[in-house]
Each structure stands twice: as structure tokens, then as C-alpha cells.
């Protein structure tokens, strides 16, 4: 470490102060725009939709796009545009919930594992390995089978699936922080482990955690769509992109557009969060200390 920093001071790379590396900016902008679009859809749907997303109309089934039905109707005569708007809420909620659950479990465990590296930490990480070996989607299916399909079950299952990865990242970040002299200085100043974790570790691993969160968000959206498609996610009649895909499958040959829109919506939102995550990683990862 010392050598690296003295090398920097020798002018091989200009000081962090003058030219702070601001990598990943185009990715962050592109990602933010896409995420903002999805977010807007969800917000708009709360106050207004072109038609009722749940009203069926047996006469007007599989209608082509028109002034009344912007994107046409589905097999039950429901307005696709409205369903698409309303359907954006569930993935966002699931993403938020999943990341929340995953971080609430993963971050404390990861930090704990790092700070008690010789004792309890080893056991935490081995337990983590076992959990990680278990596919999150499978866990979700099992939980749905036991408790019945619901958004909450999906969130808990996906959150549990996300937690081991988060714990791993948090642990490696914490180990890095603990190896720095300021962590030693805090110990020498008589500060306990809790203070160390909250005042030194968390702020310094914030960057990599944010990256994890965006990536986790994208995974959660995809997984929610998959679960709904399997009928294990959000139950009807609440609209959801995954369920729209499943409904559309039955009429795929007659009206391919019915699955184009939800498919596109899933793709765009996942792409958005992934781009954002990649951009943030470029900005945060290379050198944690210049990211402020």
C-alpha cells in the first residue's frame, strides 16, 4: 500500500485531488434514463391509466392498436398499455424489497464475518456458501409451494438468494478497510467494533454496495418476471409483466404483439439497472478512496 501511494505521489499518476477519475459516466447516464422511464411508468400508473387495467371485454379481444387502446388488447380484451403501466409497479417493489432483505441480512453478516475472521466469521461464510449453492429461484418455488404464491414470498425468497453474494462483497470490502491503518488507528484510539463498523467500514464500502444493489435490482426484476410467468409470483388479477407474458403465450400465433410489450419492458428495465450498475462500478471500484 505504502509503495503504491508513494508512487502516486511521485507523479506517475496525477494526484487524486486534481484529476479525480470519473469513469463510467456515459453508462450511468444511459442507465439512469432507462431506470427513470420505468420509474415514471410506475408513478404515472398510480394516478392515471388510459383504461382500467383489469376490465375485460370479450368483444374487443386481441384488438390492434387504436386511439382507444394504444397498444391493443390482450386475449381477455384488457388494455395492454394500462397493464404495462400498472405492471411496472410490481417489479420495482420486488426489486426494492429484494435488495432491502438481501442487504439487511447480507451486509451485517459480511461485516461480522470480516471482523471476526478467525472465529465466528469462518462459520458465517461457510453457511453463506451453503446458501449460495441453493438457487434463489428454486427457493422461491419451494416457498411459493408452502406459503402460496404472493409478492411477499417472492421478495423473501429472492432476498435470501441475494444475501450471500452481498455478504461476500461486504466481507471482502470490510477486510480491505480493516487492513488500512486508519482502522488500526481507530482501535488504538479505543474505539470498539461497532463504532469501527458504522463510522469507518460502512462509509468506505458504500460504493461497492451501491453497485451490488443495482445489479441485485436487475436480477430481482428478471426473477420476478420468471416467477410470475410460472404463476408463482404476484397472483391475478394484479397485472405484472411476467403474467402478461404467460397470458400472451396462449395467443402467440394470433397476436405476437401481446408479448412483445411486456418482454420489451422487462428487457429495458433490466438493461437500465445493469448499465447503471456497470457505470457505478467503473466509478467506484478502481479506487475506493477517490470516489467521493
Amino acid at each position: 500500500m505504502t509503495k503504491r501511494s508513494s508512487e502516486t505521489a511521485n507523479g506517475i499518476t496525477p494526484t487524486a485531488k486534481n484529476t479525480r477519475r470519473r469513469g463510467g459516466t456515459p453508462l450511468i447516464i444511459a442507465g439512469s434514463v432507462l431506470v427513470a422511464v420505468v420509474l415514471m411508468m410506475a408513478l404515472v400508473s398510480v394516478v392515471w391509466t388510459p383504461q382500467s387495467p383489469t376490465a375485460t371485454n370479450a368483444v374487443n379481444r386481441l384488438a390492434s392498436p387504436s386511439a382507444e387502446h394504444w397498444l391493443g388488447t390482450d386475449g381477455l380484451g384488457r388494455d395492454i398499455a394500462s397493464m404495462l403501466l400498472v405492471g411496472s409497479r410490481v417489479p420495482l417493489l420486488v426489486g426494492l424489497g429484494t435488495v432491502g432483505v438481501g442487504f439487511a441480512i447480507g451486509v451485517p453478516l459480511g461485516i461480522l464475518a470480516a471482523m471476526t475472521d478467525r472465529g465466528a466469521g469462518t462459520w458465517v461464510m461457510r453457511g453463506n456458501d451453503i446458501l449460495q449453492a441453493f438457487p434463489a429461484l428454486l427457493l422461491a418455488i419451494v416457498l411459493a409451494a408452502i406459503f402460496g404464491p404472493s409478492t411477499v414470498t417472492a421478495v423473501i425468497a429472492l432476498g435470501l438468494g441475494l444475501a450471500p453474494g452481498v455478504a461476500r462483497v461486504a466481507r471482502s470490502g470490510t477486510l480491505q478497510v480493516l487492513s488500512r491503518e486508519y482502522a488500526l488507528a481507530a482501535r488504538a484510539a479505543g474505539r470498539g467494533p461497532l463504532f469501527l463498523a458504522i463510522r469507518h467500514v460502512l462509509p468506505n464500502i458504500r460504493g461497492i454496495l451501491i453497485v451490488q444493489a443495482t445489479v441485485g435490482f436487475a436480477i430481482a426484476i428478471l426473477a420476478e418476471a420468471a416467477l410470475s410467468y410460472l404463476g408463482l409470483g404476484t397472483p391475478p388479477p394484479a397485472a405484472s409483466w411476467g403474467r402478461m407474458l404467460q397470458d400472451g403465450q396462449a395467443v402467440l400465433h394470433n397476436a405476437p404483439l401481446t408479448i412483445l410489450w411486456p418482454g420489451l419492458a422487462v428487457a429495458v428495465s433490466v438493461l437500465g439497472f445493469n448499465l447503471l450498475g456497470d457505470g457505478l462500478r467503473d466509478r467506484f471500484d478502481p479506487r475506493m478512496e477517490v470516489s467521493r
Binding site: A9, G11, G190
Partner: protein, 599 residues
């Protein structure tokens, strides 16, 4: 200009390096003659490394070099008009041309031999690759590799060629780097701080070896360093850079005896740790050299003199200190014994690792039975090279680690084996200053929070008051409190670290290589500050360093450590002037000295 009998090997003309709009190297020009050894000296940010990277075409992306860097035509190959031997402008050379030149006509030794060698390749294979690359028709490469290794005095060269870099010591790795650099008899060897990461005794060996190799191959040398002592031992000519400009250049003897530029004078004074004749304070470098003010500082001289006369130099009743050296039979001596010491250390050992099954585990004895006392108010220096156990000792002294056996008492109370909860008093009584001013300050915290970190149970107003008071004492403006560490230079950051250490008004201050990462001029300032504050707070100082000059200046008593033992201890002057233990003698002998040649 007509071509004289000897054309320069390397001619740098009006070289500038830009990073965006910022000019880092400003229009510098110099020549290097065939066989000449040139030292390029400067502090952090002076542009010396950028200069050498431009010569090698290794500048980072985003940095832009202008001007001309001409590598002269190969001396022996006047008739042989191959592209390889013609004179060439290195700044406009493409990657193809460079790959023919680098490692062949130009070669480089880096600062950190561990990272410069490929950790996954055997040493012999790495050397073989360099030879094969530029001389594909070489027969008997293996023999040549072994020759090279033995020429850099690696013991058992045949065996050494079969090991991986991590199995070698730092000094050995740097020798391998040197062997690689010299493998194809380069015309110019560029060395960027090649011995900075090494211990003094090893540094001396590597420097001697480098001089010998360069001489034998008839190469020129461009040696980049911040250490004036090293340059004076190795080079013929010296170029001094500051803020991207050359401020002075000339023969070593001339520059070091009659420096013309005030900056050079100041640099010389600061590196020799010269003290002001009347105040006894270190001479430092004013940041305003360029504005024409004299470089030798008069800053705060009057003030400090007043401070000194009012407090008086700390006159503790210092017991006479026996100058003891380790006896040959190895019985444990108690060094610097005293009745009622601030720190008492007895039979301290620390062993890392576990004895594995069947005795196959790896055990490292970092500390093998150390006993000494530090009297209250004493300035106790501990010197030794890397791996001698001084860092381990320091961690035990500060209760950041537990000893395997033995104990440490601080102000009469046992700290070894105590639980962290019972050590609260110690965390206020004893404070530490770490080596790396970048790493020891949390980049996410504001300076005020950093300084106040050791304070417990104090209200906001009191914390604020203490922080401001300390900022003032360490010579930083109050506005610093709301800034983050990256907004400060290395020396300023070390001041912040000192402020943090003093915020609890400790009685014992432990400094771990506290000035090693700083430039010489800044080093003098920080040492002066430290001395003032030690006086003012009447601290007991334990100063750990590998730099013997610094310890000699800043400590009353010095202990020398070697292989986990303390081998000698006594008054600083006595130990350094008449060392009793052969290791101390060796250590003292190895310090690069400024005036050796000039005298």
C-alpha cells in the same frame, strides 16, 4: 552545433508533459553522455518520474509529452545501418520501434521489485525471455542466465533460476531486476528509485552492484531518486528538479559543495538533517523558494526560541544510561533499566503461526525475548531493518496484539493479556502515529471527526474547541476541520495524524516510521513540529524507524533491533559514534552519506 567527438547518448530537448491543461514537466532539456551516470533528484510532484517515463515511452494514457528525446546512434554500429542502431526520437517512436529498443538499448529498474517481476514465472525463465526476445539466436541461454545471476551475486545461481520471485528477499529480487535490465548490455539504464524499498544495508549492496554492472557494460545511467545521499555515492552528475523544472545541474562535487540555487541549498540542508546553529532546530524548506525568499527558513525561529526558553528544554532527572550491547552468549539483557519507568518490557516474545501436525507448520519468531525500560520523558528510538521485529514490538507496546510470553507495563500497569474493555485508560494515555499519512486517515471522514476520534464522553463544544486548538498547534488553518483528507498533502496529513494523537493529551506517544513516507523538506518540518509538541506536552516518545539519521536527531536513547533481539542500546550519539555490536556498526556504515565524495 557541430557534432563533437562524443555525441550525447540521450538528448532531451524542451520536454514538456501535460495532463489535460496542466503542465507537469515544463520545458526541460539535458544530455546524457555515453558512460555517464546522472542522478535526477526531486521531491514528490517534481516531475522526475514523468521525465523518465517519457524517455521510455511508458507515460500513462492521458499524459501528453512534447519536445524531443533523441537516443543517439549506437556507437559500435556506425556502418551497420539497421533501424535498431540509428538515432531516433523516442517521443515519436511507435510501439514497434520501442519494443526493439526497450530491454535492449534502454532498460529500466523499477522501485518495487515484487510487482515488477511476474510472480507466476520462475526467475530463470524471466531472464531467458529477455535474452530470447532481443537475441533470438543466442545459444546456451541457460548458461547465460546462470552467468547473469552470478554476476549480480545471487548465491547458488543455478538453484536461484528455478525459484519464483516470492521465494527471494527484496534485495535479491532487485538484483534479479538488475540482471534482467543488464542482460542485453543496454546503452542506458534507467533506474527509478530502485533502492527506496530496501533496507540500508541491502541498499548499499545493490548500489555497489549497480555501479559495478554499469561500469562493466559501459552503460550510461539515469538514476531517479529523492535521496541525495544515494546519488552522491553513485553518480557523476546531478540534475535537480522542482515543480517540473530543472533548477540546477552540474557535477556532484560542485552541486553538493557549492550549490547555486537556494532550493538546492535547502534540500541539502534538509536531507542532512542540519540544525540551526543557535536554535538547534532542523533547517527546513520554505514553500516560497521560488518567490526569491531565502530557502533556509527563519520561520518561527524566534517564536520557538521563546517557547524553548520559557518551558526550558525538558530537564527530567534522567538516570545515566548504560551503553549496553548484546553479549555473545545471548543471555537476555535488560536495556535502559530504570526504577519507575513509563514503559517496562520484560522477556517479550511473539511467535506467529501454529506448530502444525508432525512439526510441519510454519512458525515465525518475530520477537525473541526483549527487555527494556523507557523512562518517563525519554525519547526512545528503536531502529532496525525490515523483519527485525520492530513493528511487532510496536503492536505489543500499544496492546494491538498479544505477546506469546512476557509482558508490557505502561505507567506501572500491566497491559498484556488485558481485555479491550480494561484498556480504555491506555487508549488515552498512549497514542500512535502511523507511517502512511494516506492510509491512517479515513478518506470518508472529515478532519474534525478524525482528530476527535479518540475523544470520548466529551460534548460538542469541547470537541470543537480541542480540534481547533490542535489544528493551530500543528500549524493548520481552522478551516481544515471541515475538509477531507484527500485535500491535503502528505506532510499536512501527517500533521492531522499528529493532532489526532495528541487530542487526548496522552503521556506516551508512539511514532511508527512517522516521517518515512515524507519528502525530505517536509520531513524536517514534521520532525520539528513533533519535537516542539513532545516538549510542550512533556511526552514520553517511542520512535520507531529504519532511518538512522532521523532517530539520531530525534531521540536521546536508541535501541538497535536485529532478528527479533535487541542488540544494543544507549545514548544516540554513543551508539552511532562508537557502536559496540557488529550489526550496529554495519548499519551505521551503510547509511548513504552526502559528503563522502565531496569531502
Amino acid at each position: 552545433m557541430t557534432t563533437s567527438a562524443i555525441a550525447p547518448l540521450l538528448r532531451v530537448e524542451n520536454l514538456s508533459v501535460h495532463a489535460g491543461r496542466k503542465q507537469l514537466v515544463k520545458d526541460i532539456s539535458f544530455d546524457i553522455m555515453p558512460g555517464e551516470r546522472v542522478g535526477l533528484i526531486g521531491e514528490s510532484g517534481s516531475g522526475k518520474s514523468l521525465t523518465c517515463l517519457s524517455v521510455l515511452g511508458l507515460l500513462d494514457q492521458g499524459l501528453n509529452a512534447q519536445g524531443r528525446v533523441i537516443l543517439g546512434s549506437r556507437r559500435a554500429a556506425a556502418e551497420e545501418e539497421s533501424a535498431e542502431s540509428q538515432s531516433i526520437d523516442l517521443l515519436s517512436a511507435d510501439e514497434d520501434q520501442f519494443s526493439k529498443i526497450r530491454g535492449n538499448r534502454l532498460s529500466m529498474v523499477f522501485q518495487e521489485p515484487m510487482t515488477a517481476l511476474n510472480p507466476l514465472m520462475k526467475v530463470g525463465d524471466q531472464l531467458r525471455e529477455v535474452i530470447r526476445l532481443h537475441r533470438p539466436r543466442t545459444k546456451q541461454v541457460k548458461a547465460e542466465v546462470i552467468d547473469l545471476l552470478s554476476s549480480v551475486r545471487i548465491p547458488e545461481p543455478a538453484r536461484a533460476s528455478e525459484v519464483y520471485p516470492h521465494q527471494m528477499s527484496g534485495g535479491q529480487r532487485q538484483r534479479v531486476m538488475l540482471a534482467m535490465a543488464m542482460a542485453n548490455g543496454p546503452e542506458l539504464l534507467v533506474a527509478d528509485e530502485p533502492t527506496t524499498a530496501l533496507d540500508v544495508t541491502v541498499q548499499k549492496q545493490v548500489l555497489n552492484l549497480m555501479a559495478e554492472q554499469v561500469e562493466r557494460a559501459g552503460s550510461s545511467l539515469l538514476f531517479i531518486t529523492h535521496d541525495l545521499g544515494v546519488v552522491s555515492e553513485l553518480c557523476d552528475r546531478v540534475i535537480i528538479m522542482r515543480q517540473g523544472r530543472i533548477v540546477e545541474s552540474g557535477s556532484i562535487d560542485r552541486v553538493f559543495t557549492t550549490p547555486e540555487h537556494p532550493y538546492t541549498r535547502a534540500l541539502l540542508a534538509a536531507s542532512a538533517l542540519e540544525t540551526h546553529p543557535s536554535t538547534g532546530r532542523l533547517l527546513t524548506l520554505e514553500s516560497s523558494v521560488e518567490t526569491g525568499a531565502t530557502a533556509l527558513t527563519k520561520v518561527k525561529e524566534a517564536a520557538s526560541e521563546a517557547a524553548r526558553s520559557s518551558t526550558g528544554t525538558t530537564d527530567f532527572d534522567m538516570p545515566s544510561i548504560d551503553h549496553l550491547a548484546d553479549s555473545v552468549d545471548g543471555t537476555d539483557l535488560v536495556y535502559n533499566q530504570s526504577q519507575n519507568p513509563a514503559i517496562r518490557v520484560r522477556d517479550l516474545t511473539r511467535t506467529y503461526g501454529k506448530p502444525g501436525l508432525l512439526g510441519r507448520g510454519r512458525q515465525v519468531e518475530a520477537l525473541r525475548g526483549v527487555s527494556f525500560d523507557v523512562t518517563a520523558g525519554q525519547r526512545f528510538g528503536i531502529v532496525g531493518e525490515s523483519g527485525c521485529g520492530k513493528s511487532t514490538l510496536l503492536r505489543l507496546l500499544t496492546a494491538l496484539d498479544e505477546p506469546t510470553s512476557g509482558y508490557v507495563d505502561v505507567t506501572g500497569e500491566r497491559i498484556s493479556g488485558g481485555r479491550e474493555r480494561h484498556l480504555r485508560w491506555l487508549r488515552e494515555t498512549m497514542q500512535i502515529i502511523f507511517q502512511d499519512p494516506m492510509g491512517s486517515l479515513d478518506p470518508r471522514m472529515k478532519v474534525t471527526d478524525i482528530i476527535a476520534e479518540p475523544l470520548r464522553n466529551t460534548d460538542r463544544a469541547e470537541r470543537r474547541r480541542r480540534v481547533h486548538e490542535l489544528l493551530e498547534q500543528v500549524g493548520l488553518p481552522r478551516s481544515s476541520a471541515e475538509k477531507h483528507p484527500h485535500e491535503f498533502s502528505g506532510g499536512q496529513r501527517q500533521r492531522i495524524a499528529i493532532a489526532r494523537a495528541l487530542v487526548t493529551k496522552p503521556r506516551v506517544l508512539v511514532a511508527d516510521e512517522a516521517v518515512s513516507a515524507l519528502d525530505v523538506s517536509v520531513r524536517a518540518q514534521v520532525l520539528n513540529l513533533l519535537q516542539d509538541l513532545v516538549d510542550e506536552y512533556q511526552l514520553t516518545l517511542v520512535f520507531v524507524s529504519h532511518d538512522l539519521n532521523v532517530v539520531r536527531y530525534s531521540c536521546d536513547v536508541v535501541a538497535v533491533m536485529h532478528n527479533g533481539h535487541m542488540v544494543e542500546c544507549g545514548h544516540s550519539e554513543a551508539v552511532f559514534d562508537s557502536p559496540r555490536h557488529p550489526y550496529t556498526a554495519d548499519l551505521v556504515e551503510s547509511i548513504p552519506r552526502l559528503r563522502d565524495r565531496a569531502a
